[in-house]
Amino acid sequence: MDFRNTNAPAGPLTEAVRPVALEGNGPVTDEALILPAQASAAPLKFKRPWALLADRGAGTVFLVCTLVLVALIFSLLGFLAWRGAGAFVAIPGNTGRILSLREVFLGLDWSPSQDRFGVLPFIFGSFTVVGLSIALAGPLGILTAVFVTRVAPRWMRAVMRQAMDLLVGIPSVVYGIFGLATLLPLLSKGWLDEQPAAGFLASALILTVMIVPTVVSLSIDAFEALPSSLDEGARALGSTTWQSIARVLIPAAWPRLVTAVVLGMGRAIGEAMAIQMVIGNNPQWIGLMRTLTDKTPVLRFLFTPASTLTTELVQELPNTAAHSAWNNVLFALGLLLYLLTMGSILLTRRLSRRRA
């Protein structure tokens, strides 16, 4: 909504800006001080009554926008909680069996058509995929940032940033198709004697490509924020470039680097589409890894078709009868995923506050 009148050039804009700049309780910057000084010729009271109205109206508009957003978030959370609760307590409209928390959250066997609803494989699957991709994307992203900020020529920084922004903008289904059509056959031919390569490794690789831009961008920020005296001091004491980076710069930037990785993790937890296409989506993966003997344990772990919270949700939620036990458990999984994502966001905030 635009409450700046196009007939009155610039006037109302400065009027609207000034009180905010003066009243703002944040640090008063030079810019904020200059603004009213430049406009000091204009009287402080509003020239036209509509400007005052617009100013008051603006406040209401902002408030309404915020309230709508907050209401949306909480109604979504409430919806998930309500439908998810149906799995464990009787709610109106429920047609399914009431399950115990124990059989759902401590169960290893997911076979809904045989009335078994253990969701541990999905939880383990999510943590494994996210863990693996963080283990890959963390070092990769941080070291790339080191290279870009400390070793590479200046122009490369801009190029790298552009490239990373491009990667962020690609829809996840494109990553998925790339994984399905290129990565899987490649892994299978190169490593597995043409057996299918779907599983944790392929998913972690795809996820790594998806979250590495976040980690790189934020890590570059982290290194750029360090005072140059750190590097200079280390060098003055006789450090080589590598010693300065490894013993001074990385430890100094560490809290921000952790934040970068946690933010990447937040994206990884919620990703569904791309993983779904390459992971193989097998809910019985835990049992399968135990019984299969045709590969070495490491290969079995990396290349057994598995599944995660998100892949299960995206595949089955639309295809189950509303209010059945199956459907309810899936909603409970959705709630769990929501809480996990929320947890990672809170973690990031905490970490970044500690930094400041």
């Binding site: 076979s111 056959p185 989506n281 599944s307 189950t320 009868a321």
Partner: protein, 279 residues
Amino acid sequence: MNLKTLALVAATLGATAAQAQTVTVMGSTALGPLVKRAAEMYMKAHPGVQIAISGGGSMTGLNQIAAGNCTIGISDVYATEDQQKTGIQNHDIVIEPFTLVVNPSVSVRNLSGQQAEALFTGSVSNWNQVGGDDMKVIRINRPESSGTRAVQQKTVLNGKPFSSDQLIQDSSGAVMTAATTTKGAIAFVELDFAEKNKGKIEAVSYNGAACSPENVKAGKYPLFSYGHAYTNPAKADAQTQAVAEDFLKFILSASFQDEVVPKAGYMPMALAAKLKTKL
């Protein structure tokens, strides 16, 4: 919810345009194109009628018709018992043929019922156990909530559970992609998908019979299911319900079944008229 709103908007627009009778159809994305074709033809013949079709999947169609949110819910699977209790009525409108397919690396081109069952339940895990080369069997299935998987379990596995050593893909398209690129793969897909991927995939006969209208009619080929259209007479107003039933009658008419249905990858219901198998 979104779909429902969309359908309502479409319905309202239709209704205000010409005071038309509006029938809303929701559900199976597989049956969607066929029903849409029928709707176009029907609306041409009945200018006062609007038929709005939206997707969402079979279970969405069943959920919505059970709740009375649409006039017809189309589905590849039967309604659940709980959904049946809401008084919805089933109309079988078309035969959906399925076929077993294998990656071209597999030399087997015919499977007995027993062999096919053993392949998917896991008691056979190498192609040399069913007359092929020494190669691991890679089973590519749909997710547990999929209608295709339900048909597969009923017809191929005779109700027995699937082997847990399986790859799962979300859609028939993704199953085909995986099956064409994976050595030793076997899958169960709609006939249409097998025909569209000829050359990259090989269809396998079942008990010596290929998937064809003749074999289905003769009762030699049991791997098929029915496309369902559900109505909810208790929750629809009488006039709309009458139009919906007339529309379904049109879909079942000989001209539509014989001319349009085969082109869409389905088979006419008449083929099953003398069959005793009830899927």
